[in-house]
Symmetry: C2
Subunit: 334 residues, 2 copies
């Protein structure tokens, strides 16, 4: 298996990408192809011994966050992201990872790799922490405007992923809404609800945002605007609370001593809130596995993402989506 | 000044309402009229000495959370909420507070008290905590479907409230969006942005949910669906993090000792996250001050809410709204 990584996508520099990829390639027994400036990559790799599973493909342009997504994908033919996506499309790899411009990755994945048959809009699908584990939230921002059909398709995509990659036999699917009872919400939610009821998956009804940290949800379906607000508020409040707690412990000598005695549980809490261990978010609905990691991804996030890409590619997630779409067929004509 | 309180609205029972109202009536020098079962209220009051500022108005029905809002307002003519709102409308009080069914309060305030001229939809406008204080979020759930004009009117309402009640000379107003740059968002956000730019207030552009805990915003404008998600996620994650921290400190003898030495800063943190001190949320856009407190409000929340109602009524908030609407006149015909 060969996983293609955009080595020039993140904000943290090539060294972090290379470190995560070298370790992952050995631990998970996959080939990783780094796409980017050959000279810089060779130099970064020279510090490692076990690089036998690493390949380099040269690309001398970079798409940055100020680039307009569609324009960048169309014009920067030799950008690391564009070269990598073309390799993926051409079968030269089994999955693709980038920490770069999210909009460009969405546009590139759709324009270059293409959508799965029966899926109108791909969705960004990160995992968020809750009391007893994680849940997948989608769409977290790929589509600002969504129709009921899009949300139903998101549920199918997430269901296949969570079943095949996470290993949950029958994932519990919820619709994010402004009330728990059936019949709540705006037109989009009201029309989506019956569509979700008809799907061959375990739809459990509406969930309010207040319940997200305690709900038994494996998957939460939202339109991309609302999902993006939830993702960002999770990140923002996580950072805020983290800093408040740190401030509490750094206040004086006594609290610093307290922090020492509580080192273990503070570490546990930090790990739980540390997104990097969950790895990047899959972009579900395109023809091949494509993952977006945070712009600020360190080596650990690349490491875990590569493991996820491997499991995605190995476990026929997309076949299950295709089968499901074929089974309910009528959806893409509604 | 006479403030009318729905004594049978909350989930915590009459004793909490009465306690908060007796204390507030004395500390803030206002008359408080409790609406509800006369016998129960008299009995609850008999435990207090300084009840000279308390009045009772009898109402023998109660609207509960299972009631359909509009039906309940129309049919339960003698419910404490309905009787109280009619008193407010008839000039027998200067403001109204209820911890009851939110939907019924919204419907009742609109149907009985009526909307301000030039305001199409009233908005629920709670304050949420951030690093250096609070910000007003509206609409937090009164309107599931909003148009650009509604959002612009919400900004006018909040601006007058924050200027007059909070005392911020020129509140910073932001539009909640999925990106900070101008031009971001769905059709609603894109059309709202230029409307907000034209208003005579300090519009500072878009704010992403990630930035809410650290932004310099005094006011954040959202549609009622998204605002409701933000409000509830703030509450849910606040509860979640609070419990995580508690768990950290309760883990073993060492952590319990640590908690003792850090008592002061733990208290500070809890106070900051304790919504009750901010008081209830005004329902902005109706002809008189109407406030919604949490269903689980304890005495302290009623206490602080009464202070806010007093300041709302005293400081001509609604006159400023009317003046602003008159000044820009054209809006309600767009």
């Amino acid at each position: 298996m060969n996983i293609i990584v955009d080595a020039f996508g993140g904000d943290e520099g090539v060294a972090e990408v290379v470190k995560g990829c070298v370790e992952a390639s050995n631990d998970f027994d996959v080939t990783v192809t780094l796409v980017g400036d050959e000279q810089i990559l060779s130099q970064a790799l020279s510090g490692y011994e076990n690089t036998q599973n690493i390949r380099i493909v040269h690309a001398d342009e970079v798409i940055d966050n100020s680039d307009d997504p569609v324009t960048a994908i169309r014009r920067k033919k030799n950008a690391s992201m564009v070269v990598g996506l073309h390799m993926l499309k051409d079968g030269e790899g089994d999955g693709f990872v980038s920490a770069g411009n999210t909009g460009a990755l969405l546009a590139g994945a759709t324009l270059i790799v293409g959508r799965l048959k029966g899926i109108d809009r791909p969705a960004l699908a990160p995992f968020l922490p809750k009391n007893d584990g994680l849940f997948m939230l989608l769409d977290a921002g790929a589509n600002t405007n969504c129709k009921p059909l899009n949300l139903a398709q998101f549920a199918i995509l997430a269901n296949a992923y969570v079943r095949r990659v996470v290993g949950v036999e029958s994932p519990k699917v919820y619709l994010l809404n402004n009330g728990a009872e059936e019949g709540k919400g705006d037109a989009l939610r009201k029309e989506t609800f019956p569509l979700l009821q008809k799907l061959p998956l375990h739809f459990c009804g509406n969930v309010e945002a207040r319940e997200l940290p305690y709900a038994d949800a494996d998957i939460v379906v939202a339109d991309g605007f609302t999902g993006n607000v939830v993702l960002k508020l999770y990140e923002g409040l996580g950072l805020y609370f983290g800093r408040q707690i740190k401030g509490m412990f750094m206040k004086n000598l006594f609290s610093k001593l307290a922090a020492l005695t509580m080192k273990g549980s503070i570490r546990e809490f930090k790990d739980k809130m540390d997104y990097t261990e969950y790895g990047g978010a899959p972009l579900l609905g395109v023809k091949k596995p494509v993952f977006k990691t945070h712009g600020s991804s360190k080596s650990k996030e690349f490491y875990y993402t590569i493991e996820k890409v491997k499991r995605f590619a190995e476990n026929n997630v997309l076949d299950e989506v295709v089968d499901c779409i074929a089974q309910i067929g009528v959806m893409d004509h509604e």
